[in-house]
């Protein structure tokens, strides 16, 4: 069903539509009667009908006037209701303030979460027909357990599938040094297929963009396109930039144009500064050991978007590509067998094609948690409104007696709660903006692989959703009190003088039920938070295989400076020696990539003479080039053999150190030392076996790892690991200074402690830390609100029963009995809430399964601890009013009557 037809059907349910139909009936009837009269006077049926139409006058004009009058009436009523609500709230500032602040807490949470989801899931890409775009990726395969990119050669073949797709585009995110007038800056750029801009429908701000068939072959004129933002930032929007010569990783490029201001990227998180044709990727990469990605079916690193042909559905397109993929698997079994394609709408692939589906689950969970928090706050406001309703019973009854319709009165009361919610929204918005900027800044970073900057700006979609949420929150909090106010016996209420004689019992029941619901909901939040905290705890207990304490890391990419292998090694050696000489530094060593970093390397390994035959899968191992002192520095244990040393520089005898898993795979229960392996087609001799560790993800199963000496395999990027006992902030500054001293052109990035590295990397604790933080904040807010709700309810009851307590105390009742009486009730309610909440949480927790690490969503310890905590909070919240009950002075209590 289309959106417009849904809207039309909803509109036809509105009271206005009923009026319209009624008026039609009236007019038809009128014309018939009038015509009948004319006929009686002797006119023919046709003449009579015409005469009747003439006497009636313009039907449409009349209807228009009628409609106007109706509409104005509705607006008029609404305006009057709002004014009345504002007046009423001004008379009760304490109530209004409490309700607004409470609702603001819940609204802040939901609006902020929605604004984040909007950036990642809803906001369309600013291009032509963004809804036609689909993301195409490779499903989990034997190398990577998550969906990921597509190989270049496969992309070329998929592009032939023109029945379903207008075309497919590909891009690869990379980092390069962009030099202008001898100053070099690291920029994130996309290497794109020649059709990237035309397929998206992006226009240049000045100059031109990369065009089809541009830079298709090596040796074509190297061109670069700048983004509008980068053009403004670095070149101050100077239009003479077009045609300017710049250098990328030391190679000459010509600027041909600037993208339009509205479009800068096809990715929701990674902000590029420039674009170059994908066909130049190999030139930029330098002499990478991996070889060209342009000739590979193995290297799945290109992110692909396709534009569907008009009228072709996603499933048709998916089916067509699957046929193609199956044909490729038959043709190239070595590289193309054993994986499937992931074809999903572009918005589902955010923020990253590889974690898109997982991210959507996480997004739903956090949206759910925020919604639960909003429900708790609404329940609190309902509670406040109920308390107020008692006081207003007389006012409402009087108005009803004076002839205000019940529907009208309910609407007035609801208007009041919606006004409260909108005021709360106004309070919440600046907090939302602040929260978003904190989260956004927390996520924004320039890392080894990209410039990350999410765009959490509040667009009309967020504001619209925010307004809708406000109205919903207002109606949800206000509907029960409004309906209950209508149910009370009017006569009784007017006579009782506002003591709430009538309807008191159901109201008290309802308020108790509200507290039960709140306790249940906050238990849900706490269970969610608890499970994330337990996951984080489990993650921290995982054996990393190295000693993360007292380590600082600093990374460089030497290709940015156009270094060759010798220059690289010189830099590595100089920088390492000077850092090691710093006071307080015990050890320092380079490794190609730090454990659990986003980048990694690897390749096929086999025994000499046992090269896998066509169709057979090679054993894949991760690999890293390291300094001789890496094992000392990271404290990875060498189980057998030796670490690298000065012997391992000669190219003649290529050596490697492997981990237990790799050794066990090829030589189970045998000595691996002195044996030979073929790694990436090159023969290496095993000189040592190291203890297993975690390399790509915390939660990976044991993975083969192969270390090479830097001297024999000088990698382009490397991370210096520094072990030192001294203050890390000071050390970080010193390391940066040393790098600058060795070569001012080299820029270090991600200089931080290993602790921070692990928390900020997605292969490390990041997901669990985010989960625990969000769920923890929501849980704490929920519990606080539930406690306030419980406190309010118990305090209200104690106040109502003051006389009773007075009498009982006067008659000699033990104060402890009274305390037990009041607390008992609170505990009963809390217990019902906790049991109900545990059941609800167990039902909902299943959705958390994929987000948790090594912990069951039904983990009993979490449920027990959280329940006990909540019992404690409830006891505390009700103890204060309960104690007040025991201190009632019988004389004062009785005199008050």
């Amino acid at each position: 069903m289309s959106l417009s037809s849904i809207v039309r059907r909803m509109l036809s349910r509105l009271p206005g539509a009923r009026h319209e139909a009624n008026l039609d009936d009236e007019v038809r009837n009128h014309l018939e009667l009038l015509a009948a009269d004319y006929e009686r006077r002797g006119l023919s049926a046709d003449q009579a009908r015409l005469a009747a139409r003439r006497a009636f006058g313009g039907i449409e004009q009349m209807k228009e006037v009628h409609r106007d009058a109706r509409g104005l009436r509705w607006l008029d009523d609404a305006r009057r209701d709002i004014q009345q609500a504002l007046r009423a709230l001004r008379r009760a500032p304490l109530f209004a303030g409490a309700a607004v602040l409470t609702l603001a807490v819940g609204l802040t949470a939901v609006i902020a979460i929605f604004a984040m989801l909007n950036a990642f899931m809803f906001r369309p890409m600013p291009v032509d027909h963004p809804e036609e775009l689909v993301s195409i990726g490779t499903g989990p395969d034997r190398h990577v357990s998550l969906p990921h990119g597509v190989s270049f050669l496969d992309l070329q073949d998929y592009r032939q599938e023109r029945a379903s797709f207008v075309d497919l585009l590909g891009y690869n995110v990379e980092v390069a040094g962009l030099s202008v007038d001898n100053t070099t800056e690291r920029v994130t750029m996309y290497s794109v297929t020649d059709n990237y801009f035309t397929l998206l429908g992006v226009q240049p701000a000045i100059g031109r963009l990369i065009q089809p068939n541009e830079g298709r072959t090596r040796g074509d004129a190297p061109v670069i396109v700048l983004t509008h933002e980068y053009w403004q930032l670095r070149f101050g929007g100077d239009p003479s930039i077009v045609g300017r010569a710049v250098r990328l990783n030391g190679r000459p490029f010509t600027v041909i144009g600037v993208t339009s201001q509205s479009f800068d990227r096809a990715h929701s998180l990674i902000r590029p500064s420039a674009y170059v044709p994908l066909w130049m990727h190999d030139d930029l990469a330098g002499d990478s050991a991996l070889g060209s990605i342009l000739e590979s079916r193995e290297s799945h690193q290109i992110w692909v978007l396709g534009r569907l042909q008009p009228g072709v559905s996603l499933s048709q397109a998916r089916a067509a590509l699957e046929v193609k993929a199956a044909a490729l698997a038959r043709e190239y079994p070595v590289t193309n067998r054993g994986f499937s394609l992931v074809v999903i709408p572009e918005t589902h692939a955010r923020p990253n094609p590889n974690i898109g589906p997982f991210f959507r689950v996480a997004a739903m969970v956090f949206a759910g948690l925020a919604a639960v928090l909003l429900l708790i706050t609404s329940a609190n406001v309902t509670n406040l409104l109920m308390a107020r309703a008692v006081a207003r019973e007389r006012e409402v009854a009087l108005r009803a007696a004076l002839g205000a319709g019940r529907g009208r009165l309910v609407r007035q009361l609801l208007t009041e709660s919606v006004v409260l919610a909108v005021l709360a929204g106004i309070v919440a918005l600046p907090v939302v903006v602040q929260a978003l900027s904190v989260v956004g800044q927390g996520m924004a970073s320039t890392t080894s692989i990209a410039t990350i900057r999410p765009d959490f700006s509040l667009d009309t979609r967020v504001l619209g959703a925010g307004l809708l949420l406000m109205v919903i929150a207002g109606v949800v909090s206000g509907i029960a009190p409004a309906v209950m106010a209508m149910r009370t016996d009017l006569n009784g209420a007017v006579r009782a003088g506002g003591r709430g004689a009538a309807g008191g019992e159901p109201r008290a029941m309802f308020r108790s039920a509200l507290v039960v619901v709140q306790v249940a909901l906050s238990l849900m939040l706490l269970v969610g938070g608890g499970l994330f905290v337990r996951s984080l705890d489990r993650a921290r207990q995982i054996e990393l295989g190295f000693e993360p304490a007292d380590l600082v890391v600093a990374s460089v990419i030497t290709t940015e400076n156009g270094y060759d292998a010798t220059q690289r090694l010189d830099f590595y050696t100089n920088a390492r020696n000077r850092v090691r000489a710093l006071p307080g530094v015990e050890q320092a060593a380079w490794i190609e990539w730090a454990p659990l970093a986003t980048v990694s390397e690897g390749g096929p390994v086999w025994l000499e003479g046992q090269r896998p035959r066509t169709g057979e899968q090679a054993f894949m191992a991760a690999s890293a080039s390291i300094d001789a002192d890496y094992f000392n520095t990271s404290k990875v244990t060498i189980l057998y053999g030796r670490a690298f040393d000065d012997r391992d520089v000669k190219p003649a005898r290529q050596v490697a150190i492997i981990n237990e898993t790799l050794a066990g795979h090829f030589w189970p229960n045998q000595n691996a030392i002195g044996r030979s392996l073929v790694f990436r087609g090159e023969q290496v001799e095993v000189v040592g076996v190291a203890r297993n560790g975690k390399y790509l993800f915390l939660w990976e199963s044991p993975r083969g790892m192969l270390y090479r000496p830097l001297a024999q395999a000088p990698s382009e990027r490397a991370t210096l690991m520094v072990r030192g006992s001294r203050n890390s902030a000071g050390l970080i500054t010193e390391i940066q200074r040393v790098f600058r001293d060795v070569d001012p052109a080299v820029r270090a990035y991600d200089v931080r402690t290993m602790e921070e590295h692990l928390v900020r990397e997605s292969g490390g604790f990041l997901a669990f830390a985010i989960g625990a933080t969000f769920a923890g904040v929501f849980g704490a807010a929920g519990v606080l609100l539930a406690a306030i709700g419980l406190y309010g309810m118990i305090a209200g009851r104690v106040a109502q029963r003051t006389q009773e307590f007075g009498v009982r105390i006067a008659l000699g009742a033990d104060r402890r009995t009274i305390l037990r009486d009041v607390l008992g009730r609170a505990i009963r309610l809390a217990s019902i809430g906790i049991v109900g909440g545990a059941l609800l949480a167990a039902l909902a927790a299943r959705g958390l399964t994929t987000l948790l690490l090594d912990i069951s969503p039904f983990d009993p310890l979490t449920y027990i601890v959280v329940s006990l905590f909540l019992v404690g909070v409830c006891l505390f919240a009700s103890f204060i009013p309960a104690r007040r009950a025991t201190r009632v002075d019988p004389i004062i209590a009785l005199r008050a009557e």
């Binding site: 009236e26 009837n29 009667l33």
Partner: protein, 113 residues
């Protein structure tokens, strides 16, 4: 041919409707229009349709109310009747109207003599 007819003065239609409902009892829209035309004896150019916005106006002010019933041609029809507030309003406006008429005729009488 036809006698000279005039537009309905502003506010007069509402008063006519109220008076009609007061004397005739509950009526549907056509009944009200027919009665007004009969009383005007052709001196009024009334587009009968204009009484519906007038009826809505009066109902919104609470001077008349409506209910659904069956008309003489056996159709579902809306019958309007005057409320107590409507009668009070009718009395006030009728009084105001006759004072206005008396004053106008005095003024016009003076100027023509």
């Amino acid at each position: 041919m036809s006698p000279p007819s005039s537009e309905v003065p502003y506010g007069a239609l509402d008063l006519m409707v109220l008076k009609t409902l007061d004397t005739m009892g509950p009526q549907h829209g056509y009944g009200i229009a027919r009665r007004i035309e009969q009383m005007a004896e052709g001196m009024l150019a009334l587009n009968q349709g204009t009484i519906y916005p007038a009826l809505l106006r009066l109902e919104q002010k609470g001077w008349i109310e409506s209910d659904w019933g069956t008309s003489e041609n056996n159709r579902r029809a809306r019958f309007y009747s005057i409320t107590r507030a409507g009668r009070k309003q009718l009395a006030i406006e009728a009084d105001l109207w006759s004072k206005t008429v008396a004053m106008m005729s005095r003024m016009l009488g003076e100027s023509s003599s």
